[in-house]
Symmetry: C3
Subunit: 351 residues, 3 copies
Amino acid sequence: MAVNKTNTGKFFEDFGVGQVIQHATPRTITAGDVALYTSLYGSRFAVQSSAEFAKSIAYPDAPIDDLLVFHVVFGKTVPDISINAVANLGYAECRFLKPVYVGDTLSASSEVIGLKENSNGKTGVVYVRSTGFNQRGEPVLAYVRWVMVRKQDGASPAPDVVVPELSDRVDPAELGVGLSSLDVARYDYGLSGSAHRFFDYEVGEKIDHVDAMTLEDAEHQIATRLYQKTAKVHFNNFDQSKGRFGARLVYGGVVISLARALSFNGLANAFHVAAINGGQHVGPMFAGGTVFAWTEVLETIELSARGLGALRLRTIATRDLPCLEFPDRDENGAYKEGVILDLDYWVVMPK
Amino acid sequence: MAVNKTNTGKFFEDFGVGQVIQHATPRTITAGDVALYTSLYGSRFAVQSSAEFAKSIAYPDAPIDDLLVFHVVFGKTVPDISINAVANLGYAECRFLKPVYVGDTLSASSEVIGLKENSNGKTGVVYVRSTGFNQRGEPVLAYVRWVMVRKQDGASPAPDVVVPELSDRVDPAELGVGLSSLDVARYDYGLSGSAHRFFDYEVGEKIDHVDAMTLEDAEHQIATRLYQKTAKVHFNNFDQSKGRFGARLVYGGVVISLARALSFNGLANAFHVAAINGGQHVGPMFAGGTVFAWTEVLETIELSARGLGALRLRTIATRDLPCLEFPDRDENGAYKEGVILDLDYWVVMPK
Amino acid sequence: MAVNKTNTGKFFEDFGVGQVIQHATPRTITAGDVALYTSLYGSRFAVQSSAEFAKSIAYPDAPIDDLLVFHVVFGKTVPDISINAVANLGYAECRFLKPVYVGDTLSASSEVIGLKENSNGKTGVVYVRSTGFNQRGEPVLAYVRWVMVRKQDGASPAPDVVVPELSDRVDPAELGVGLSSLDVARYDYGLSGSAHRFFDYEVGEKIDHVDAMTLEDAEHQIATRLYQKTAKVHFNNFDQSKGRFGARLVYGGVVISLARALSFNGLANAFHVAAINGGQHVGPMFAGGTVFAWTEVLETIELSARGLGALRLRTIATRDLPCLEFPDRDENGAYKEGVILDLDYWVVMPK
């Protein structure tokens, strides 16, 4: 009888600390991917939109949107890491290491850096550090993710517990790697859409991004397939309509990209996402919902790279909940109904 | 306290005659934008579809669809001109001045050419001439638009009334600028889809374009974001569902592009939109509606450019109303229920 | 009075055996088309996804997905061949003759190779061999299709009956034309997503592809317009909602592409569709339905091209019917309710 040919994914006992997993389907990023990304989220950051603008600050070409790079790399890891996941628990230490341009080919691998079986003996937590590479083998993105994965055989022995130490936030000294050659002297604040730059932002400042986007099933499906992420919860309404939510679940990365695109109105000069410190998908997102967003400035740091500063931001996205009053957690730490994303990240801006 | 960082747009009293406004987000047009445009409207004009066909008539490459250029430029003007608009009143003197190609970067600016406060003291009409430029600073498109904008402070004094003189139609002598180097001797009527050329069309002739397209929310949203036009009426169903129409309003430019794509069936050799004399969005368009179109030939003019003629056309688009009987205005000037667009424009065709 | 300018298509009596029809709208294939294809189906075959991977096995660049080439060529033939068709009866002898790359321009022509009037005197069957060409005039794809077409004038005489002899399957000796320069020695099974290659597959083996995709109206419309196929049954819901099905009918090619993309899970190394032997659209597909697929291996043949073998596959796609139990025809030849596609084709894989 023929061997099973389909991917059944890894179970908890298939992971071992130190194991390195090469992920499938390398992907050449093209002008087509960029156009689709723009048309799916409506992003308007000048550096990514205009080759001329990018060149004016000494990029060789318009760089690919950082989050598009993130989604493409993330999508590759799913069949090997999280296809049997019960839950995505968190991510940390996500750093964008090198700009990616049209024509670059992205591939990805992950190293298992931690394992901890749950006391129920049925599941365990797997920690991986995933890295995206360009065609020259240079890392362009690295992040840690941890997921709860089912055991296939409950009787298999528990591995030694290894829980990695993870930073709450990416060290500002690590930010802006690969931006050292930029020269923002010719950065044009008329073309970029806002006069507000690094020194105009204050710690504690809150910005309602005003605009909002209603999401359709076709849109999140097209976006998620663009990243070649094909997990059934996003696509199979035959199953999902009978499930817990009664609907296809939107890939969390779509919400992150929508929130980032909305944040243009208030953060137009935050041209680069340098790092993601962590994030929580507080609630699920479904088609028909309308995404709003607001942002709080957590820290401001001048970078060593010429003319640049970094803002540590916390962006909250909501579903069907306007953000004029900055919906947040209450005194008990419970999020206001409607909050779906709480993202902690660093952006780079001209000073 | 931090300064507000989001764009609140200009109010009537913020405009002054002679003021020039540089608009944000320059945009490099790519093969991805072209593919999306094709997939959203189904346009089949050979010159825009095939680099080989375009080269056969001495274009250096397939030019970008004129209406894609229009939408990209128009989208840039919205945050500065019409974010506080009560109504879009009209446009005129729209001329396509130079072909745009993949790799060109478009930017836009507008000059205020007229102002007239309304007698209610609460709103006023702003006239702007908007120009799209390529990366060499050459104008590729220019048009006049006038919108009714709110005053922020009712007590602010009324400006001097300046109302520009606008042509009813673009002078045929101005058409086909930038087409002088074309050579249609090798234009292939088998590949273009029709044997009908300039001399086959008669003034007064009416053409039902037969085909029709039903529009989905995902489609008009993807199209409108492609133009980086993010006005909330098109995207925010949380608000719109409670509003006057109970639905997201489709950007009028989407209807224009649909009508143009439908017009291929009957006008397959009208390979270039040279000018838009004026247009009216007679009724609103919503997802779920089906767009039909018909065209009347208003004028025919031989151009000085070798082998070319121009047809002045009036294309009517309808919602859920077939165009076999050419639905139009009645004797009182009232449009038949279902008409949503009445567009007066010049196209260029081989003689 | 002006001559009718719109395409009314050919009727049965307009076809003659030996007639060659040049189809309209040549099309330059771009990186934008590739990105849209990926985003509409979620295909993950490494050769088409990565220029680097393609080059590693001696392609000059990532080839265009074979089915995208098929749809673009097929779309061109519709206005001339099947606009007055009552039914699409079948296709055969479809061979992919040469890889197509970004920048190539596709055009198409068809030769009428058979005619047979039906006994009712109102319709007849037209057989055409359609060929797609690149800009150098080299055939890249050829296939036979037969359709039932209405007569315009019932009194017109019946033509001589000519029914071409068609192969049940493309001869394996004809497969892999244009692959002779490939070198799969460096084919990377880690990057491709599966270790299973030609010799791992057995005749009679059945593979449930596990994954599934729910299709939206916006998605099949965007896909079908990408191919510039604008037949009203796919787009005009004003008419379709009142018709037999009460809904827009999904272009059968969309189902084929979805099934092919789903088949990645189980056939990840089947990097090239070399031929389509025949196929049946067993049932209609509508938006809202979820497509599943399974495949049976019919034949295995080693190719003369170095390191390659061909699998003859039969892929069944279903609507709202999981394929764990391989839904098929019953003993009377009737398909199980829910089956929508039965496709017989050859794929190429490394040995």
